[in-house]
């Protein structure tokens, strides 16, 4: 156990020097592309905001079912099957047909080539499930159908979220999917997420609809409140143009009225429809509805054929800017709710870094002094190993561009405390060996060999705990699992290669010395 070949010594030295260099690269700024890896600081250390958003898919499902009822009705009409009493209740569609048609309806729903009910061969499932419940048919989304629906609304939502966050212009935001109905937004360096939160909280569903007093409007009517929550107006459900028809939106100052407005440009289809509606609707009130509330309802005075217009509604410059931003980035497919928020201010982050570093330095010093007092020359060897170990640990974290969090720093300090364990096990074993063995070399060799299983056991148990933490933990705690787990490997390396190398050199030079340890 004490023999080292020249090649191995060279390898160990190179390896250690390499990692020391990598670790120290964090202290300097390399401008070139030679080596640009760095340990990332977690949000708890550099300050920033962590937002977990959940997509509320209920309205999407409702809407899809609503559309489906029309599709089903029309589809079977073509096939000369009369659908009766179609209605939606609790996310199920119910309808009935005459007894003669029952089988053909079932066949159409269960046909794998059906264009009414898409089949996903990979999951051996249809989009919709149909059930014959006596009088009625019950149709609802299958498990796979729901999953498809959720992932597609998640895909759309993450795109919109990304656009909105980018428009605000924070540095290096991190936007990720979580499960099939959540979106994680990490915003480093942002200490007041208020604006982004309010932007993400809005669906931004914009529609232009006429105000009507005709209760028998062909499309149905609904009562909507104005933004100020006081006034109300009856608005037709017929949508003239919607947010999808917008090409651009910008905040502007209206020079005539001295008001802040949002001016918008419509696409071709939108411009045409807007032109037509304004020409037939002169004198009527056109309600501009955002997320179910009326922003304003100006009276149409002229035909607007230019495809551009403006929204006024008592905006401040900030609210106009935000509305324009929302309109530009598009509407979310479904409302988002912020279900978890963690924000750390940059000065607290810096305080945490400082406290962590002080604790690391003090913990390190205490352990080093303790080991030196206890083992003298071998304590010194352990201490050198410990320092190299720390560098290798930081080097590995740099290489993997791992994220360092406050608990992560605690993990490093803990690694320092526990790293001596392996060396202590070895040294104590050597002491025991020396009781009946006078040959130093044999005793040291025996100490290393006989302590091996205990060291392995001890490290595997800690590693198991770290692995579970890594997979179950989130954010800062994950950072702890990373440093603890990586620390185990670097510790074993430094104990079995570096410390053993020093020990072997020292022992072979003092072969005949008594009471070596």
């Amino acid at each position: 156990m004490l023999y080292f070949s020249k090649l191995r010594i060279v390898f160990i030295t190179l390896f250690s020097v390499l990692f020391i260099l990598i670790a120290s690269s964090n202290l300097f700024k390399f401008d070139d592309n030679f080596f640009d890896k760095k340990i990332n600081l977690g949000l708890d250390l550099q300050g920033g905001s962590y937002l977990l958003l959940e997509i509320d898919n209920e309205p999407v499902i409702e809407q899809k079912l609503q559309n489906l009822t029309t599709t089903i009705r029309n589809y079977f009409k073509e096939k000369n099957i009369k659908i009766n009493n179609i209605k939606i209740d609790n996310q199920n569609i119910f309808f009935n047909v005459s007894d003669n048609d029952k089988q053909s309806v079932l066949d159409i729903f269960q046909d794998e080539n059906s264009d009414l009910n898409p089949y996903y061969p990979r999951f051996k499932s249809h989009q919709l499930e149909i059930e014959d419940i006596g009088l009625n048919f019950k149709v609802n989304f299958s498990r796979q159908g729901l999953i498809k629906l959720k992932t597609s609304s998640q895909d759309q939502a993450i795109e919109i979220v990304r656009r909105r966050v980018d428009e605000v212009g924070t540095n290096e935001p991190n936007i990720l999917k979580r499960g099939n109905n959540r979106i994680l937004v990490e915003l480093p360096g942002l200490d007041d997420p208020m604006r982004i939160k309010s932007l993400l909280g809005k669906t931004a569903n914009l529609t232009f609809r006429f105000v009507t007093n005709d209760e028998n409007d062909r499309f149905g009517v609904e009562k909507l409140k104005f933004e100020n929550e006081l006034e109300e107006a009856t608005v037709s459900k017929r949508i003239i143009i919607s947010g999808e028809n917008l090409l651009d939106a910008q905040p502007k100052m209206d020079t005539q009225t001295n008001q802040t407005i949002v001016s918008f440009t419509l696409d071709r289809v939108g411009a045409k429809r807007f032109g037509k509606a304004t020409s037939t609707g002169i004198g009527k009130q056109l309600a501009i509805v955002l997320d179910g509330k009326i922003i304003s309802a100006p009276v149409v005075r002229d035909t607007i054929a230019s495809g551009s217009g403006q929204i006024s509604g008592g905006f401040t410059f900030q609210t106009a800017t935000d509305l324009a931003l929302l309109l530009r980035s598009g509407a979310l497919p479904a409302p988002l709710e912020i279900i978890e928020e963690r924000t750390v201010g940059p000065d607290l982050g810096q305080d945490s870094i400082n406290a962590g570093m002080i604790a690391l330095a003090i913990g390190f010093m205490l352990v080093i002094i303790f080991m030196f007092v206890k083992y003298k020359i071998f304590g010194l060897i352990t201490n050198v190993t410990l320092i190299v170990n720390l560098f290798i640990l930081l080097g590995v974290l740099t290489l993997f561009e791992a994220t360092l969090t406050l608990p992560g720093i605690a993990g490093i300090i803990l690694t320092v405390g526990m790293a001596v364990d392996a060396n202590v096990l070895i040294f104590e074993r050597i002491k025991e060996e020396l009781k009946d063995e006078t040959n130093n070399i044999l005793a040291f060799d025996g100490g290393y060999t006989k302590s091996r299983t205990a060291i392995l056991d001890a490290n595997i148990t800690t590693l198991l705990a770290a692995i579970i933490l890594f997979f179950m933990g989130s954010g800062p705690v994950k950072g702890f699992a990373v440093t603890l787990g990586v620390g185990i490997f670097t510790t074993l390396f430094s104990v079995y290669f570096i410390a053993r190398l020093f020990t072997s050199i020292y022992v072979s030079r003092n072969k005949n010395k008594e009471k070596l340890i």
């Binding site: 708890d44 977990l52 959940e54 208020m194 939160k197 309010s198 909280g201 912020i338 279900i339 978890e340 928020e341 963690r342 924000t343 750390v344 000065d347 607290l348 945490s352 406290a355 962590g356 604790a359 690391l360 003090i362 913990g363 205490l366 352990v367 303790f370 080991m371 406050l406 608990p407 720093i409 605690a410 300090i413 803990l414 320092v416 405390g417 526990m418 001596v420 364990d421 202590v424 104590e428 025991e432 299983t453 205990a454 056991d457 001890a458 490290n459 595997i460 148990t461 800690t462 198991l464 705990a465 579970i468 933490l469 179950m472 933990g473 989130s474 800062p476 705690v477 702890f480 603890l484």
Partner: protein, 299 residues
Amino acid sequence: MIAFNKYYNHFNLLSSVLIVVSLLLLIFKGLNFGIDFKGGTLIELRASDSKINVSSLRDRFNQMDLGDVSVKKFGNDTDFLVKFENKDNKKNIIEEIKANLDKSFGNNYDFRRVENVGPKVSAELLKSGVIAISLSLALMLIYIWIRFEWQFSLGAILALFHDVIVTLGVFSLFSLEINLSIIAAVLTIVGYSMNDTVVIFDRVRENLRKYSDVKIFELTNISINETLSRTIITSATTLLALLAIYFFGGEILKGFSLAMILGVIFGTYSSIYIANTVLVRLRVSQKTVLREDDQNKLN
């Protein structure tokens, strides 16, 4: 040689009492779950005006109808930690609070940290925390079962349960907050306690093979003594590192390092006084390990 075995019975009794008391505390007093597991909002606030203190802050927050509000000093005189249920899960609660505090205190304060955990997320975090701890215990069980005879496994697992339950018992007794980092601490305790037990067990097994005429009662004591200096040194260096975190690592790491300190102390104690006494009570002998050796040979 220290006669640890003289006190096996005494300490077994003590451990049983500790476990029962801890369980009673956990059942009847329960744990003080932080917002990570209970849901709610936390604000760490730094004041630059001496008018802002615990009672003036409590006054302000109580007027806002936020459910249960707790206001505490956090580390020093200018830092405060405010926690409340946010039971209606209001959307713009932070902005409302800011507006309200601005009225009384101007801008002589600063939110250093804001955490808001919805009820759904907190329930999930609690579930995954419980799963993580159970999974780690199960993994340790499997590992030790592969490595040692069943008597040893039982001893190690009982020691683990003791450490986890008593550490949580202390947290319950002093109403210390349980948050995500405490789960991390408990998992690390599980690893550490196992580590400590395994080192002694390794020696017990070695000695069982070596001496055929020494009774397990004596043999465990010999093994404990032989590994004692290692036990002391490792727990000392680990505790030194943890004390450094506790005293200098900032307020956020206080609970985490305290849980770990308790865990290291209980873990060291249980390796000696629980894990080993299980071996004694199950009358482990040379046959126990030799039988396994024979089987390994046959395979």
